[in-house]
Symmetry: C2
Subunit: 249 residues, 2 copies
């Protein structure tokens, strides 16, 4: 794991999972709080040269701070336990920066879990971890190859499976769609270039498009996810009944 | 300008502004439609080697297609003419990819104009053009160094100036905020790392935060803009009165 913000979140949310910290002298002096956290957690700290930090880094602009951590993904049944109301499924998303940004948005919107489905990027990819700015530690993340299995697991958990599809007839702000989003919802987003395959859109309970009011052809993955997830969070929070308390894990 | 999608939009929306097209043989065979458009527009087409296309490119993954075009920005008074209802001001946004993505989102949400204010990235930066996927041609884009001047121009155009500020007391889904967003609105977004300076937030008519429902610290610029602009578009479209027709430029 790279970068001060991500490592800070790892210490805050899963201190026991951080095994070793490699840091340059310059970075150590800038982030004394992190070294204190490492000491408190009993994590080994090794000072390295800028050149070594660069070699350890997967990014073009290394921050001089790399941590060795346990992986964070959990079985899908665990990720979807506890009456989830808002879940994100990323199907064959291939760009790690996009994937990490969507995890961050899902966290911000109060989602209960993110599932990486199909031939998707590894959530532990360095760029994904960095783009998530710590959110990978804030909500359960699961991986599953088979999308049909993921849909089944979502339905078993009481979630309605909604495919995000720019070509869908139903738009996000249709009254009927807003009504449907009041219930527990799993949003499924496809690959950034190809979207969702038609058979997966058909396998979902419904398909919904973000309306395009101007002349743009589409939105990119992260901004489309932001609009869908925040719209759902708003609707669910307005209509949340007292007998359906939100999950507080 | 680089990339097939951006050049296609340039021909569609401003064919006279495209002066010359440089294209590799391989790319030309893949995008015969573009060469036809160039011929129809009387644009000179020059076949170049992949190496030359790479030298002309500002990006890491050149598509073998570069066009020489006029700049697109217009004076701010022109950008804000015609009773705008939704405008985006980007203050000192420095990453061209972020800026281009926000122009694309503004277009998709039906915004009437985008203003690059302060020491912001050049909207004609190659990465910005590419990230906008043609949206730079869909709505007027203006540049202005002085933010106070931009705020004045927005108010003269009948717009309420709303600063996007993660620390603001008022949240996007507060009833009073939703009520206020029914009127013509200029959203102001700050630099991706530093946000808006305090004096600019104070100079706005109000400041509004995207609510964070989970444990994330914040959203990134493009996703925050997507949420704010789509929320405003939804509210304005629900409440749009017949005596206030939308601009149809």
């Amino acid at each position: 794991m790279e970068g001060a913000q991500a490592v800070r979140e790892a210490f805050a949310y899963a201190a026991n999972s951080v095994h070793e910290l490699f840091v340059t002298e310059q970075t150590a002096s800038r982030h004394a709080d992190l070294l204190q956290q490492a000491e408190a957690a009993g994590t080994r700290v090794s000072t390295v040269t800028p050149r070594a930090a660069e070699m350890l880094s997967e990014t073009k602009t290394p921050q001089g701070l790399v941590a060795v951590c346990d992986t964070v993904d959990v079985p899908i049944a665990e990720a979807l336990s506890g009456r989830p109301r808002l879940v994100v499924v990323l199907f064959e998303v291939s760009d790690p920066g996009n994937a990490g940004t969507v995890v961050r948005v899902a966290d911000a919107a109060g989602a209960d879990a993110v599932v990486f489905a199909g031939d998707a990027v590894d959530p532990h990819n360095g760029k994904c971890v960095r783009a998530s700015t710590g959110s990978l530690f804030h909500l359960p993340v699961a991986r599953a190859r088979d999308a049909a299995e993921v849909f089944d697991a979502c339905r078993s958990a009481g979630l309605r499976v909604v495919a995000a599809d720019g070509a869908a007839e139903h738009k996000l702000d249709d009254v009927a769609v807003e009504e449907a989003l009041t219930g527990p919802t799993a949003w499924v987003f496809g690959n950034e270039a190809h979207g969702l395959p038609a058979e997966l859109t058909r396998a979902a309970d419904t398909a919904v498009a973000v309306p395009i009011h101007g002349a743009a052809e589409s939105l990119n993955l992260a901004t489309a996810a932001a609009v869908c997830l925040y719209a759902t969070a708003r609707i669910q929070r307005i209509t949340c009944r007292d007998d359906e308390p939100r999950r507080t894990s």
